[in-house]
């Protein structure tokens, strides 16, 4: 008996590599990385895009994802790269994908870029955390104390067990804004339907580390400093992702 092999010709090669920035908004912030990946795989098929496939018995669409925002955390700056077997105009790809994806998984920008998504291109993220009902004046001293620390060890239970990390060393900057403050966020970042008429927004630039320090880890560290920080999970949004520059995150 011969060893079974896939029949037919080899799959058509990729001729165009696209980098896609997308958002995870509103209800879709509760989608996990795998949920988002499945939605994109179905989305490219519904959109009729000529996505390239790997060879072999179980061909996979050539889509690769950068580490996604955690389940429950919104994002304006998720990235994936997509390989196509024929050339398509970036604007058309964006339109067709948005028509095919569930509302809330929204493509923001499509650019031609064959660089892929190595960890070296995405070294830091800017996050926003909304703390409703807290004034900036009450939060600012907590943040100052945190920033004065050398280390802020925190623990988080992951699917792989209890992870320990230093929340302080990963934080590059951490600012406190009143929610009325214009700089506290564009409409997309705050537009989750919740009522934010009074509150504080934390903006933080966090280095990508292993294990990853997430904004809720920073929040846990702030809670260690002062119980002013509530235990209820706040609305968190990734605003930008890219490399670390002089003045913050340089978006990819």
């Amino acid at each position: 008996m011969s060893k079974p092999a896939p029949r037919g010709a080899a799959p058509p090669p990729a001729v165009q590599h696209l980098l896609i920035r997308y958002a995870k908004r509103g209800k879709m912030r509760f989608a996990s990385h795998l949920d988002v990946a499945r939605a994109f795989e179905r989305g490219v098929r519904r959109a009729g895009l000529p996505v390239a496939y790997s060879a072999g018995f179980t061909p996979h669409p050539k889509i690769s994802y950068a580490g996604g925002a955690p389940t429950g955390v919104a994002s304006e700056a998720e990235y994936l790269s997509l390989a196509l077997t024929s050339r398509n105009e970036a604007g058309v790809v964006r339109e067709r994908l948005n028509a095919a994806l569930p509302d809330g998984i929204d493509v923001i920008a499509v650019t031609e870029d064959a660089g892929g998504l190595p960890a070296s291109r995405l070294t830091a993220s800017e996050w926003q955390v909304i703390l409703p009902g807290l004034t900036p004046d009450s939060v600012a001293p907590v943040v100052r104390k945190f920033l004065a620390l050398e280390h802020a060890p925190v623990e988080r239970l992951t699917s792989k067990g209890l992870r320990r990390m230093d929340a302080r060393s990963a934080v590059v900057t951490l600012d406190v804004h009143g929610l009325e403050d214009d700089s506290a966020g564009d409409d997309n970042a705050v537009g989750h339907g919740a009522d934010h008429d009074a509150g504080t927004a934390l903006r933080m630039v966090v280095r990508h580390t292993a294990p990853a320090v997430r904004p809720d880890d920073v929040l846990a560290a702030l809670r260690e400093v002062s119980d002013v920080i509530p235990t209820a999970p706040p609305l968190m949004t990734r605003l930008a992702q890219g490399s670390l520059g002089e003045s913050g995150v340089v978006a990819l």
């Binding site: 079974p4 509103g26 795989e41 519904r46 009729g48 496939y53 919740a194």
Partner: protein
């Protein structure tokens, strides 16, 4: 009056629970209509978790059929897991739909599709969370009409107290007929109130309203009779049969989940009904006659379904897919059409037949040949004759030889334990069969890495089947036989490592048996078990046998009946069965004769399939005014090519 979304209340809870995305809706192809622009509103409930309920074909079909109607709104609701149930109770959040997060209590109708009796307790959770009184008798005009359907509603008596109405059989036309009656009733000022509506539904003879029937019992506990308790209500209620599946090509664009679900594919029913005549099979008995969907409609549905969903896999569903009169053409043409497209095709292959392997080869043209499944159901030839599963050991060996030779590495075999007349030897015969399968596979391929998995579960006698009179095998006996089989398989040095063994212990089957063949008194047991915490009884990690046995002894104390009476007791011809007034079309005497033929001391009698042999008078077609609808149509899909195997014939 519009209805507020509960989402603002739900949202803060979502970060605290497992897999929150299942509750947020917003999926591709989901439908949200303006509440005020519709006048008949259905909440469709699948009484299990979203991951199981979303792929359910029944709900998917009715959701589309209803939402296509102007003025009609249908939204989906699923069972919430206990982590969310606890928070919803704390925060006073009612059962909600996932489409627009509207409270289920605000709808006109709550439609429930029961695939299994083990979903009954989840009905109570949903009603309670929706603030709908659990008992039909306690509901007012302000509450939705609670309507059940699905295979596990063909004997709705154990949950009769909780239901307002029941539909037997195919739902497509029935939901539209109910919708029309509800619309008329609302427009004319709700004459007669809730009972007035239920009476107009019952009067059609096609909707069962349990409350309009009284059940009398004999002193020994058996039913004396079931009869209508008011004028205008027929003595028996008919099942619905959809004729011309081509006129109902649903689902066209099923909801595409964001959350992970148990089946991630676009499914097309290629026919409905089955007349193979397996005596244990309720689905095959209650869905007669066979009605095929034509190759052209199947082709169109696959094409538009993939485009509408983006699914990478297509399932060709039916109770025995290889029996479609043009299955070869469907398989070859679809495989041609989708060659190189990365769309996978699958056929639930249950028939032991080499032709089935050829079809599976065709459908997996580009894919990996990992595993094929066959269901001999019984281990010994004698056992298979009892259940009318006419498969010989030679058939099975020929079939698996073909499978292993064409590159399949793994063959899964399904069996049942606890069948009528079964002995220890009948179950141990499964071990011999598995050894012969591996031996044949090694001989055919010259390889030792081929495998076979034996998967076995406890048999539950079901209403509307020839085995409806049978004594269910006690779980202790089932468990002993399953252990002995496991030991026999493991003890085998030459083959044991190549044979996998999966089994379910017998105790959940006994409760399924109670719920399957119970009467109205069982409602008390269900209520007691639910109050004691029964939820998600189809899930091993939630099911508790002692919770059910405790509930049964408490709820039936003082009655002449108990758990054993409902399950392990054989019934005789004269006994009134709880579902005798519910007409599946099957002739009761035909079922009885088939039951007698099964257990005949000189060997079981065989019943052929009426698609290829003369009618054997099961009674369905004349009683229901239906007919067998099969091809061939002679049509082909684009990209045709004939399978060489067909030259030698089936």
């Amino acid at each position: 009056m519009s209805v507020e979304s509960v989402y603002p209340l739900l949202e803060p809870l979502l970060p605290q629970i497992r897999k929150p995305v299942q509750y947020v809706g917003g999926e591709v192809n989901s439908t949200v209509k303006e509440w005020d622009e519709t006048d008949v509103r259905w909440a469709l409930f699948y009484p299990d978790a979203y991951e199981v309920g979303l792929p359910n074909q029944g709900i998917a079909i009715l959701y589309e059929v209803l939402n296509e109607q102007p003025g009609v709104l249908a939204e989906r609701t699923y069972s919430v897991w206990p982590d969310l149930e606890r928070l919803m109770r704390e925060q006073d959040i009612p059962q909600f739909t996932v489409d627009a997060h509207r409270p289920v209590g605000a709808f006109d109708l709550l439609g429930i599709s029961f695939s299994t009796e083990l979903g009954y307790t989840n009905l109570l959770t949903a009603l309670d969370l929706a603030k709908i009184p659990l008992l039909s008798a306690e509901r007012t005009d302000a509450h939705p009409v609670v309507v059940a359907g699905g295979h596990a509603a063909f004997n709705p008596e154990p949950i009769a107290d909780f239901l307002d109405a029941v539909v037997l059989g195919d739902g497509e036309e029935a939901v539209l007929a109910i919708t029309a009656l509800v619309r008329e009733w609302k427009r004319s000022g709700r004459p007669g109130g809730r009972d007035g509506l239920l009476l107009s539904l019952a009067a059609t003879g096609a909707v069962y309203v349990p409350r309009f029937y009284d059940v009398r019992y004999l002193p020994d506990g058996r039913i004396e009779r079931v009869e209508p308790n008011r004028p205008g209500v027929p003595g028996s209620v008919r099942k619905h049969t959809l004729l011309d599946l081509d006129a109902w090509p649903y689902p066209k664009a099923p909801v595409v989940p964001v959350a992970e679900t148990v089946h991630e594919r676009y499914s097309v029913e290629i026919f409905r009904g089955c007349t193979r005549g397996c005596r244990f099979c309720q689905a095959g008995m209650i869905t007669r006659p066979v009605r095929e969907r034509s190759i052209t409609t199947v082709g169109k549905m696959v094409e538009s379904g993939i485009a509408a969903t983006g699914f990478a896999e297509v399932g060709l569903l039916s109770l025995s897919s290889a029996d479609h009169s043009e299955i070869n053409e469907i398989a070859v043409d679809l495989a041609d059409c989708y060659e190189g497209s990365n769309v996978g095709l699958s056929l639930p292959s249950t028939r032991v037949d080499a032709f089935n392997v050829t079809l599976a080869d065709e459908l997996s043209r580009n894919g990996k040949r990992s595993g094929l499944t066959f269901a001999p159901e019984g281990g010994s030839e004698r056992m298979r004759a009892v259940i009318n599963k006419m498969v010989t050991e030679d058939d099975l060996i020929r079939t698996v030889t073909t499978a292993y030779s064409s590159g399949w590495r793994q063959v899964k075999l399904y069996f049942m334990c606890g069948l009528p007349t079964e002995t220890d030897d009948d179950v141990l015969a499964i071990a011999d069969l598995a050894r012969h399968v591996i031996a044949a596979g090694r001989k055919a391929t010259g390889r030792r890495d081929i495998r076979c998995t034996v998967s076995i579960g406890g048999f539950v006698p079901k209403p509307h089947t020839p085995f409806q009179w049978a004594a269910q095998c006690p779980p202790g006996v089932v468990d002993t036989r399953l252990r002995a089989l496991g030991a026999a398989l493991r003890a085998d040095r030459a083959y044991g490592k190549a044979i996998g063994y999966r089994y379910h212990d017998g105790s959940p089957s006994l409760i399924e048996g109670l719920l399957s063949r119970g009467d109205r008194r069982v409602a008390r047991v269900i209520l007691a078990a639910w109050r004691d915490g029964a939820r998600f009884d189809g899930w091993g990690e939630y099911f508790s046998f002692t919770r059910w046995t405790d509930a049964a002894s408490r709820a039936l104390a003082g009655e002449p009946v108990d758990l054993d009476w409902y399950t392990t007791r054989e019934r005789d011809y004269g006994e009134v069965l709880p579902w005798d007034h519910l007409d599946s079309g099957l002739d009761r005497d035909w079922l009885w004769e088939d039951w007698q033929a099964a257990v005949a001391p000189d060997g079981a009698g065989e019943v052929e399939d009426c698609r290829w042999t003369p009618c054997y008078e099961c009674g369905v077609c004349p009683a229901m005014g239906t007919e067998i609808q099969t091809g061939p149509t002679g049509e082909r899909l684009d990209g045709r090519r004939m399978l060489p195997v067909l030259a030698s014939g089936r």
